[in-house]
């Protein structure tokens, strides 16, 4: 009960103090807001990329064309090679030239019109393999490795757009992470200075508290709470933008499909709430970390 009352007083004082150091508080709050906005973008991207990377991995396959007229020994050797490759899933499928001819005849008008003229399939149709990879980000390396095998003529995979998007998003994510770290450092610096001002403006009060025997916790508490309040206020705008921004973006898409039916965004509910929660927690933690540093530095006991 007593604790609660002290906390309540602390929160009230913290708001007052934020108001008193208005310009510096606004700077801290803006900085933490920008940081959290970048965090939100990074989170949205990262979770969506993870999500559709997973989908793509099950959908995208490479097709490996072996040389025309390969021998059975070469085929066995090739199969044992790909079984040993790190990034290749074991569920690859082989297609003999005959099977390939039939498949193409069935689904393509051009082949349908000329197919009947072909007698010796082995001279026109390749022995092919449908291969899936474990890590979509390494698909280029795996394809090159396969192409370097003498028995392989060519490797086809994807249209490229999906893989490119994945790697672009991955890059964006890495940049966002870097930007977040820099922004957190700047934010902590600003908060330390905001709290420092508050500490200095209340020096007299603090010295009297010490003299009459207030516990260290009682003296430090209001400043830690001020950091908490700064973090809390700073997370309001990013949360609103995330919730409304993501929801309306999602709604403007056709069933959440971006560019192609391969990429499906996460539905806003409950996703935006997890992101909002993460934003508040990060905001408050950064705020309290900043105030904690200021207290340790400028409020020695």
């Amino acid at each position: 009960m007593k604790l609660f009352r002290m906390f309540k007083c602390g929160v009230r004082d913290a708001f007052k103090s934020v108001y008193r150091n208005f310009s510096l508080s606004i700077a801290s709050i803006s900085c933490i807001s920008i940081t959290l906005l970048v965090v939100a973008v990074a989170l949205v991207l990262s979770f969506n990329v993870k999500n559709f990377s997973k989908e793509i991995e099950s959908d995208v396959a490479m097709v490996v064309f072996l040389n025309l007229g390969v021998t059975n020994e070469e085929i066995t050797e090739f199969e044992s090679t790909i079984s040993n490759m790190e990034n290749i899933l074991p569920n690859w499928e082989a297609q003999t030239p005959t099977e390939r001819k039939e498949m193409l005849l069935a689904e393509d008008d051009f082949w349908n019109s000329v197919g009947s003229l072909i007698d010796n399939e082995e001279e026109i149709f390749h022995y092919t393999y449908k291969i899936k990879v474990k890590d979509i980000n390494l698909i280029n390396e795996t394809a090159t490795e396969l192409e370097n095998l003498p028995v392989v003529q060519v490797v086809n995979y994807g249209e490229g757009i999906v893989e490119q998007m994945v790697s672009v998003f991955d890059l964006v994510n890495k940049i966002a992470f870097l930007v977040v770290i820099i922004l957190v450092i700047v934010t902590v610096f600003l908060i330390v200075n905001t709290i420092k001002l508050t500490i200095f403006s209340r020096r007299r009060e603090i010295s009297i508290m010490r003299v009459v025997g207030a516990s260290n916790w009682t003296i430090k508490n209001p400043f830690i709470i001020e950091g908490f309040v700064i973090g809390l206020l700073g997370s309001i705008v990013p949360i609103i933008l995330t919730v409304y921004g993501y929801t309306s973006f999602y709604n403007s898409l056709d069933d959440g499909h971006l560019f192609s039916s391969l990429i499906e965004l996460l539905p806003p509910q409950p996703f935006v709430f997890f992101v909002s929660l993460a934003i508040v927690v990060i905001g408050v933690v950064v705020g309290m970390f900043g105030s904690g540093r200021a207290v340790r530095k400028y409020l020695k006991v």
């Binding site: 007593k2 002290m6 007299r204 009060e205 010295s207 009297i208 508290m209 010490r210 003299v211 009459v212 025997g213 207030a214 516990s215 260290n216 009682t218 006991v301």
Partner: protein, 232 residues
């Protein structure tokens, strides 16, 4: 019974100044003691060690059975709750009323709201300021401000009241008034009072125990004292 006992206490500041040198001193419960000495003699240093603002560099400083010299920084507040401290410059909060200034001392140590009211009013009555509870410090005379500071110092019923030149900023009449209040507290509540001063008239008038310090050593200890030239 001794409330305070110093054995071989020395204080050397970081800049090399030896402010207190090998001091032995005993003060009994309920005593009223003047500590006198010229400027720079070490009075404030001694006082600061009593409330553990400064730590002795050597020796044993026992208050109420506890060795304050060994007290950790994080535990100092426990000692302070048993002490009242009064300074030359009052140290009141200008934006709080007289009542709030005194109540502040109880609020920050987490007293119950109902107790705060009773204790604050009682304390203000004791220093004769019951009629000025709603005034702000800048509406009071120096003597009245110092009485608010005394009320704040005794509001939690301390066993020991420590004053560092409480009359230093006051004219002779107000000074006498303040020491009268301290004397009163000493007599009615049994609070041990230690007061550093270099006000001759006050010391000579009140006839208390006088401890004279010079260059960080005790040079005189009169049971019923006077401020003579020898002492300085």
């Amino acid at each position: 019974m001794e409330l305070i006992s110093l054995k071989g206490v020395s204080k050397k500041y970081k800049n090399g100044v030896n402010a207190i040198y090998d001091l032995d001193l005993k003060i009994k419960k309920g005593e009223f003691v003047f500590i006198i000495g010229g400027s720079g003699s070490g009075k404030s240093t001694l006082i600061k060690m009593l409330y553990r603002e400064e730590k002795p560099t050597k020796g044993e400083l026992i208050i109420g059975g506890k060795n304050v010299a060994k007290l950790r920084n994080s535990k100092v507040y426990k000692l302070r709750r048993k002490l009242g401290i009064v300074f030359q410059d009052y140290r009141l909060l200008p934006k709080l009323t007289v009542y709030e200034n005194v109540a502040f001392a109880l609020e920050v140590i987490g007293e119950k709201a109902s107790d705060i009211r009773i204790k604050t009013l009682k304390s203000l009555e004791l220093v004769g300021l019951k009629g000025k509870t709603r005034n702000y410090p800048d509406e009071l005379s120096g003597g009245e401000q110092q009485r608010v500071a005394i009320a704040r110092a005794i509001v939690n019923n301390p066993k020991l009241l420590i004053c560092d030149e409480p009359t230093g900023n006051l004219d002779p009449l107000m000074s006498e008034e303040i020491v009268n209040v301290l004397d009163d507290i000493n007599k009615t509540m049994g609070t041990t009072v230690i007061m550093a001063t270099h006000d001759r008239d006050i010391v000579n008038k009140f006839k208390k125990r006088v401890i004279a310090i010079k260059d960080g050593r005790i040079v005189k200890d009169y049971a019923e004292g006077k401020y003579d030239n020898e002492a300085i």
